[in-house]
Symmetry: C2
Amino acid sequence: MGNNSKLNEVTLSTESIFKGRVISLQIDTVQLPDGNQATREIIRHPGAVAVLAIHGDKMLVVDQYRQAMGRCELEIPAGKLESGEDPLEAAKRELKEETGYSCNNIKLLHSFYTSPGFADEFIHLYFTDDLESGEMALDEDEFLEMSEITLEEAQGYIQEGRICDAKTVMAVYAWQLYSLTGKLGQ
Amino acid sequence: MGNNSKLNEVTLSTESIFKGRVISLQIDTVQLPDGNQATREIIRHPGAVAVLAIHGDKMLVVDQYRQAMGRCELEIPAGKLESGEDPLEAAKRELKEETGYSCNNIKLLHSFYTSPGFADEFIHLYFTDDLESGEMALDEDEFLEMSEITLEEAQGYIQEGRICDAKTVMAVYAWQLYSLTGKLGQ
């Protein structure tokens, strides 16, 4: 399972449709396992990092406007990888930029694709509870507000839909399991 | 938090770049909170459903080739919403199509955006352990293999990267918590 060659598709051609600042779009023509052809609309993304950062009994979240959703939501600190950047260094950088906190000890929980049906965005999710406060340093076009919430608040926000993105819901699950079992990740 | 109007961006214009079979791409020009302008690359997606389906002490997964990743991976049963389709009915339909199992009782755990930075894909994650076996009915261009795995196997597959998409990792967390606490969702 997971390397099942008889399910494989073979790329016959790739047409570049758009190259943007963040994402690019291509249409791949593939040969299906039965020999027929199909097209696949694929988004290329540089990848990202996210941090489950625990300060005492609270989790750091940032309130941020998301144009795709047309509203603000609460997310864990996160951001795109810069070209050639090591994910662990990116996680420390984004945490510092978005919350002001530095960390020394930080651990990869796991990495995951957000939307495997149409995008290659791959997020590395880190954990730290070794935080040292400092100054935020946001990007020029970045506007957000940091706050710290308890597990109970986080669960309530998921129910209300104020926390409603995959990486943050996943981080709350990971935190809840950690607080129950002392075990991190899977 | 989550409705923080001073972080809001205002859409000034929208340029349609591409309309595909599954996704469309637009570039929005927005006014930032400080009055400056920026562009946002936005993918529109019809939304999707996914099902954490537990059969005895095992979870149903499908092995599927993903062109965006260039390989197969194990995911929980899932699929796009059809136009106007009720998410609960879509969840039952996808479960039946991809695994052959029907279910009567099915419950929404929560819904989430997969990639709020650039896409509006919204997944409704359901739970069922009320399964009745039957025949699979795959779409014409859909090739996948169903199997049933234990929680321990699922956790191992996450570590190995054979389970590596957001909805499936999240579902394994939800299942693990359910098996520890008897409580579903958040």
